[in-house]
Amino acid sequence: MKVLKLITRNAGRHKLRTYLTVLGLALAVMAFGLIRTFIDAWYAGARAAAPDRLVTRHAVSFTLPLPLAYKEQILQIEGVKDITYGTWFGGIYVDPRNFFPQFGVEPESFFRIYPEYLVPPDQMQDFVRDRRGAIAGQGLVDRFGWKVGDQITLIGTIYPGDWQFVIDGIYHGENPDVDETAFVFNYAYVEERMKQESPGRVGQIGWYVLRIDDPNNSSAIGAKVDARYDNSWAETKTETEKEFALSFIAMGDAIIIGLRVVSYLIIGVIFLVLANTMAMAARERISENAFMRTLGFRGYHLTGLILGESIFVAVLGGIVGMGLLSLVAKGVEIALSSYFPGFAVLPTTYILVVIIALTIATAASIFPVFRALRVKIVDGLRVVD
């Protein structure tokens, strides 16, 4: 306890300097944690992917449609147990800034293949029956203040015109990685209208999602699907849901790399801030350390005191930083919920911050320890504070 007391009091000798160091560390930890959380949120889709789901899309581009007629054919392929499809709608709700993902789907098969989207049975029944029905995620409902029974209008961009929908139900995610900001509706509604307004677009969907019997056979099953449509006018590319999500993420690779570089730079800043403080403390205490050794204190005692002080300051900065991080992350989660659904600091980020703080504290104390032990006692005693 005496040692702990000495460590904390040593850290408090220059209060302003210690406060500024702790604040600097805290801000750096918060920035590092936020960047990590952004990166984690970026990969949330890949984390939520199920191993027994494959996605089949147009081989040339995700933006090109596939024939709806493929559905029954793909279902015949060995290893495919179930199938659903979806189409990106891209409508505007009141203002273009109110972005949220909207998908036209086949109601029953969609919720069968995505059991992690939890919808109350009665609401599900209404949705299946209602051609203009829609199911919205809890996050979306909270954002716009919607409730079951509300009628909303989306202005179509890919499918022009005003589109009226009725909120028949609200889904919740089975786990935190499930995006609760999506809006799904019956694709038959789009098909009906396209028959009248744009017959050439009838019978086309965006992608298929397949449930397979064995995740270990995903490559073989995917290859069979794609082989089925080789040399057709709409060749396919089939991959696991995770690969599909990662291919989207890869579009932002440059951003992710940039963010990672910044996060490493922040670690460097944390190190420099703490190393500078510890170096100043070591310089000021040359005489004191020499005196301690005169009393009989040994190298490992001084190492413990210096390392302890470094860890104390780093942990203090880490704790304050993690507190700030959780507060700021909450604010970011609310502000960017439509872009980063599930934006939340993961426990691994907190653990990483603790590991980094301890590693940096140790590294920052190497030079001061070396200096304290290298100076001869008689030389150290000559130094007047």
């Binding site: 040692v3 408090g12 000798r13 004191e288 005169t294 009393l295 009989g296």
Partner: protein, 224 residues
């Protein structure tokens, strides 16, 4: 009074500045007996602090032998020397060297943290040491709340708290006014007379040296 606590034989110490050897002590032969109060005097640069540092085991001789408290400390490794210092040496510095973040009590307790004494035993020792130097009522004061003389008395309490074999003081009155210096030398005399402490004081103040039973002069590294 006959047992030699400090015995040096042909003790020689030199420093190197770049490649130039600078001799500091020449063939010092010195015996100090248990219970003696010795003042080492001499002009600046005469080597008295170097001799004190060698006796304290915080510096190593270039050649010769140096036995303190029955041990040839010139042969001890750094770790053993640290243990030896904790057991045998109480050091008093000119500028007190109290830790500013610790109270008088905690400063005095510092050397006892290296012993196996319990908390209660440490408290008893510290209270005893502080009462000997007349500062029992200042235990909770920080160094900045004490005068120079009081700080030096705390430093003396710290030097005696572990009951070391030898008390070494390097210019203990050098930073004090006349009255405080007188008090410190009286206190050291008392420790020598009442507690039979062996004390070596380095000083260039003749009035301080007068309190010692033996005065040895050093000049240009040679004992007169």
């Amino acid at each position: 009074m006959n047992e030699a606590i400090v015995r040096t034989h042909e003790l020689y110490k030199s420093y190197y500045r770049d490649s130039l050897e600078i001799p500091v002590l020449h063939n010092i032969n010195l015996d100090i007996s248990q219970g003696q109060f010795v003042a080492l005097m001499g002009p600046s640069g005469s080597g008295k602090t170097t001799l004190l540092n060698l006796i304290a085991g915080i510096d190593q001789p270039t050649s010769g032998t140096l036995a303190v408290a029955g041990e040839d400390i010139s042969r001890l490794a750094e770790g053993d020397l640290a243990k030896w210092r904790a057991r045998h040496i109480g050091f008093i510095f000119q500028f007190y060297n109290l830790l500013p973040v610790l109270t008088a009590f905690e400063n005095v307790e510092l050397p006892l943290l290296l012993t196996g004494l319990s908390r209660k035993e440490r408290r008893e020792h510290v209270e005893m040491a502080l009462s000997i130097v007349g500062l029992a009522d200042r235990m909770k004061h920080y160094p900045r709340q004490l005068s120079g003389g009081q700080e030096q008395r705390v430093a003396i309490a710290r030097a005696i708290v572990s009951d070391p074999t030898l008390l070494l003081a390097d210019e203990p009155t050098g930073d004090l006014d006349k009255t405080s210096a007188e008090e410190i030398m009286t206190l050291l005399t008392r420790l020598n007379k009442e507690f039979n402490k062996t004390i070596i004081v380095v000083t260039h103040d003749p009035r301080a040296a007068d309190k010692a039973g033996v005065i040895r002069h050093l000049d240009k590294g040679e004992l007169q």
